[in-house]
């Protein structure tokens, strides 16, 4: 008898099949119509979007849309080819020039997704004799980049400089000549915590390691001109590679890596996730280029962080156990058990608020999270509506009463 290739998925399918049907299932939800960066029609009703990573509200920006429409008309729906064959248009080069200006650096390479940027750069840069050292809470694309490459992979404890130092010490002791790439994230997406880049880059440089920082959740959000946490913490000269995405603050899709390494362009010849895929469609390239210009020239960061602080503080004040502090655009309520978290999500969507249900293993420390990502496009009235609904559902499910009872009891 032959084995069923799908048998190994039975445990996860069983979990999946035990989820509520229909409208309350967080994994089958779809948007019938998107009205704005912060509202959509879901299950026939107008819903506030509070979990879309649309930090700058760029998806409906009139200038970005006009640029995309013009490119669509002039260049068609897609390039149908790789960057190294027919898929490089002038606009792809222009986008890379815009990135170089944005980061004030020598080289920029655009990938078709942020996932592929991490996959390609990590897997290609670190070869069989090299080491990649990653944070335990790294995004899946970083883990997958490690798995795809041939380097030795070592993990250090999340945001812990001493733990990193210990590991780099051992690597250098055993192999003084090894090439080492330390991979960090500016902001970790689930709890919105920043990496202490000053300490982590200092230790990395002490051991002659290269540093890569993924600014996926921090481009547009932090730094004087929106470059991210490396700019915010004033360590850009200590960072060798910055990776980012166009799918959050930039409002479309695509990934990039920028660097001042003199041989950086070599990646175009050897990086398989760059070579063996079609390039971004012209309309996407056009809106990304325009959005980067807008991020550099307008400051929506304080509005975004005000929104986040308002929601975080409000949720904390009514008694929720928060995983976040409001210093990033993320607000995450920690829910003790998974079934309550799933029920919470279903109640929120019925009340007209879309948030993210985040469950292990995608979360740190096996937390169940109701995760919100705020947008500069949210109004205070929308934030207050979210707060009202969170409080209502929290009471309905007994989470908030429990808290009060345990405090007084």
């Amino acid at each position: 008898m032959t084995l069923d290739l799908f048998e190994k998925f039975d445990p996860i399918l069983n979990d999946y099949n035990s989820l509520p049907d229909g409208a309350e299932n967080p994994f089958t939800v779809s948007m019938e119509k998107v009205l704005s960066p912060t509202t959509a029609i879901i299950n026939g009703r107008e819903t506030i979007l509070a979990g879309t990573n649309n930090y700058m509200g760029m998806t409906f920006n009139p200038e970005c849309m006009a640029a995309a429409q013009e490119a669509l008309t002039d260049f068609g729906t897609g390039t149908t080819g790789s960057r190294v064959l027919n898929g490089t248009y002038n606009s792809h080069k222009q986008l890379e020039e815009t990135l170089k200006e944005f980061y004030d650096c020598q080289h920029a390479i655009v990938f078709s997704t942020g996932y592929q940027a991490n996959l390609g750069v990590i897997a290609t840069l670190a070869g069989p004799k090299d080491y990649v050292v990653i944070d335990t809470d790294s995004h899946a694309s970083i883990y997958d980049g490690c798995a795809m490459g041939n380097a030795t992979v070592v993990r250090f404890k999340h945001n812990d400089p001493d733990n990193l130092d210990k590991r780099l010490n051992r690597i250098r002791r055993d192999d003084p000549e090894a090439g080492i790439l330390v991979v960090l994230e500016g902001v970790y997406s689930m709890l919105g915590d920043q990496a202490p880049l000053k300490e982590l880059t200092r230790i990395s440089k002490k051991h002659n390691a290269y540093v890569l920082v993924d600014e996926a959740h921090s481009i547009g959000v932090f730094g004087e001109t929106g470059r991210g946490v490396a700019q915010e913490q004033d360590v850009e000269d200590q960072v060798d590679f910055i990776i980012g995405t166009f799918s959050k603050s930039v409002g479309t899709i695509g990934g990039y890596c920028v660097s001042n390494h003199p041989k950086f362009e070599a990646l175009r010849l050897v990086c398989r996730p760059y070579i063996f895929t079609a390039s971004l469609p012209p309309s996407v390239v056009a809106s990304a280029t325009k959005a980067l210009e807008l991020i550099a020239s307008t400051n929506l960061r304080s509005k975004l962080l005000d929104n986040s602080m308002r929601l975080n503080k409000g949720l904390c004040d009514v008694g929720f156990n928060m995983g976040t502090t409001g210093e990033s655009p993320i607000a995450a309520i920690v829910i003790d058990d998974q079934d309550t978290a799933i029920a919470f999500w279903g109640e929120m969507i019925k009340e007209g608020v879309y948030v993210n249900l985040a469950l292990p293993p995608a979360t740190p420390n096996r937390m169940n999270l109701m995760r919100c990502s705020l947008s500069a496009a949210h109004s205070f009235a929308q934030i207050d509506f979210m707060l009202e609904k969170f409080t209502l559902v929290g009471k309905r499910l007994g989470i908030l009463q429990d808290k009060v009872a345990s405090l007084t009891g």
């Binding site: 335990t136 030795t152 992979v153 070592v154 993990r155 210990k166 690597i171 293993p361």
Partner: protein, 82 residues
């Protein structure tokens, strides 16, 4: 300061105590996933503690080949001997 395999096994067993929620008897054939019921994330956390205990680098790449406590012990022994 190469240690013998039995000493390493004993030290690993001590480190495993906090992960041994059901308090089962640990032998060299004990598996992390089935016997100790540890998920892959917990195994990675445990690996980190073993690295610090023995002051060695255990590459993440080795994890798929380390299913039992005995295999882990042998791997640590080999890394210490190198």
């Amino acid at each position: 300061m190469t240690q013998n395999v039995d000493e390493i096994f004993e030290r690993i067993c001590t480190l495993l105590k906090p992960f041994n929620k059901k308090d089962i008897a640990i032998g060299k054939d004990t598996t992390f996933s089935i016997d100790l019921e540890l998920d892959s994330l917990t195994v990675m956390d445990m690996l980190s503690e073993i690295e610090d205990e023995f002051d060695i680098t255990i590459p993440l790449n080795m994890l798929p080949d380390l299913e039992t406590v005995g295999q882990f012990t042998d791997a640590v022994h080999k890394l210490l001997s190198e």
